[in-house]
């Protein structure tokens, strides 16, 4: 299984290399692809509010005009939080005392659009908006158990960023972005509730 996994990664890497050849050999003309590592900071939820770098973002777009591109995106992120031992009143006469580790896993996907300025320059800033669905798993790990809730919600995320192409003759560069996201996911785990998901974060990766 491990060999198959490495072969898959190798094959995907080969496709990626082909895609980042000089602009004249680009696999998808008039388009862009971003692959980013991201740092996500959850805001205002009592399940897992610690920033983490356990996530990535993938998106691509087709330039319907020289400035405007639309396409699909998918990203994922996990935020964790450790809780020392505490007693929870679970209702109906039961109570639980345990140390816990919480995990908030978010997987939004959908459509993205962006407006890009200075398309011919090395530094190409843009403003974008992502819309779609968000799957989120809310988990509490304690003792040898994992208790979790699956949730779905509507996803919206404005974003500003820039693609930086050091060598104009090559369609490969660095991508940086700052985003905020909101999702309507609601759910409960033990005595912890999540009512909507708010996040902000940064993305750093490649653009081609």
């Amino acid at each position: 299984m491990k060999t198959a996994k490495y072969l898959r990664i190798l094959a995907l890497g080969a496709v990626l290399l082909a895609a980042v050849r000089p602009a004249s050999a680009q696999l998808f003309p008039n388009s862009y692809i971003n692959i980013d590592w991201q740092v996500n900071v959850p805001l205002g939820n009592d399940l897992a509010d610690k920033a983490s770098g356990w996530g990535m973002n993938f998106e691509g777009g087709y330039f319907v005009t020289p400035e405007i591109a639309v396409g699909p995106f998918i990203s994922y992120h996990t935020n964790l939080e450790s809780l020392s031992r505490r007693t929870l009143d679970l209702g109906n006469g039961s109570a639980l005392t345990a140390a816990q580790k919480h995990a908030l896993f978010q997987l939004p996907f959908g459509a993205t659009g962006r407006y890009t300025w200075m398309q011919k320059s090395v530094f190409q800033p843009y403003a974008g908006l992502k819309l779609g669905a968000c799957y989120a798993e809310l988990s509490s790990y304690y003792y040898v158990l994992k208790q979790y809730t699956d949730t779905w919600g509507f996803y919206l995320s404005p974003e500003i960023g820039a693609s930086i192409f050091p060598d104009p003759s090559y369609r490969i560069g660095i991508h940086i972005a700052l985003y905020y996201s909101y999702a309507t996911n609601n759910g409960d785990v033990l005595t912890y509730s999540v009512n909507n998901l708010n996040n902000f974060g940064i993305r750093v990766g490649i653009s081609f």
């Binding site: 990664i9 890497g13 450790s82 005392t97 040898v144 490969i172």
Partner: protein, 215 residues
């Protein structure tokens, strides 16, 4: 940054993406602490009970064919901690089962792993080394008058409180009106296990204030 370096960065990012998606937290630290879960029958008036009977040994749920009982000084310390908490709650220990309102069962799960479900009313038949219902009188078994879902895993202590006056004469079963599941007692140190167990027993009573209605 050269284009060649960017190629490497692209491959590294893609390998990272393909190799990991959902991050699971490390749970190793969770074994360094105990877990206490308690539940009870909310329809039971605990103030109505005055006396309890507590055996001086702990039944061991292990892998042997015969029932095993844990009776050494460590077991006695655990039993005495339970008795001390029950006394503090206002109940009186009796030496005779027949005159007790409550029966207290202590079981230590040494090796087996079980999961108990409310949806299986005859679950106790799957526990060959469990407390015999006949220990408490002419009974065939016991039942939970409330919903229960929990697992028995190695290194666990179970404390169950039976209402000896509330038996169902039709089914000949006794109700368990309070139960406590304590996990995380299987470290390599016997001393640590004992300290953790007595602390967890005290916690089980501390998070069950309704038991103190007998005062």
């Amino acid at each position: 940054m050269t284009v060649k370096k960017l190629h490497y960065l692209a491959i590294a990012l893609f390998a990272l993406a393909a190799g990991a998606c959902q991050k699971e937290p490390s749970t190793s630290g969770l074994n360094e602490d105990y877990l206490v879960y308690t539940d009870h029958d909310t329809a039971t008036d605990f103030a109505a009970f005055e006396t309890y009977f507590l055996p001086d040994s702990i039944l061991v749920i292990g892998s042997r064919d015969k029932s095993e009982y844990w009776k050494d000084a460590d077991a006695l310390q655990i039993v005495n901690t339970v008795a001390e908490r029950l006394d503090a709650a206002g109940y009186t220990r009796t030496a005779e089962v027949d005159t007790a309102d409550l029966g207290i069962q202590l079981s230590y799960v040494r090796q087996r792993t079980y999961f108990v479900g409310y949806d299986q009313p005859y679950w106790w038949w799957y526990y060959p080394y469990y407390w015999s219902p006949g220990y408490w009188g002419d009974w065939l078994g016991w039942h939970y008058p409330y919903r229960v879902y929990y697992g028995y895993t190695a290194g666990s202590l179970l404390i169950e409180m039976l209402n000896l006056d509330g038996g169902d004469t039709t089914s000949r079963t006794l109700p368990i009106v309070w139960d406590s599941f304590i996990g995380g007692l299987l470290t390599s140190s016997t001393e640590v296990n004992l300290q953790r167990t007595t602390a967890a027993v005290k916690q089980a009573f501390a998070q069950s204030p309704y038991l103190y209605q007998a005062q």
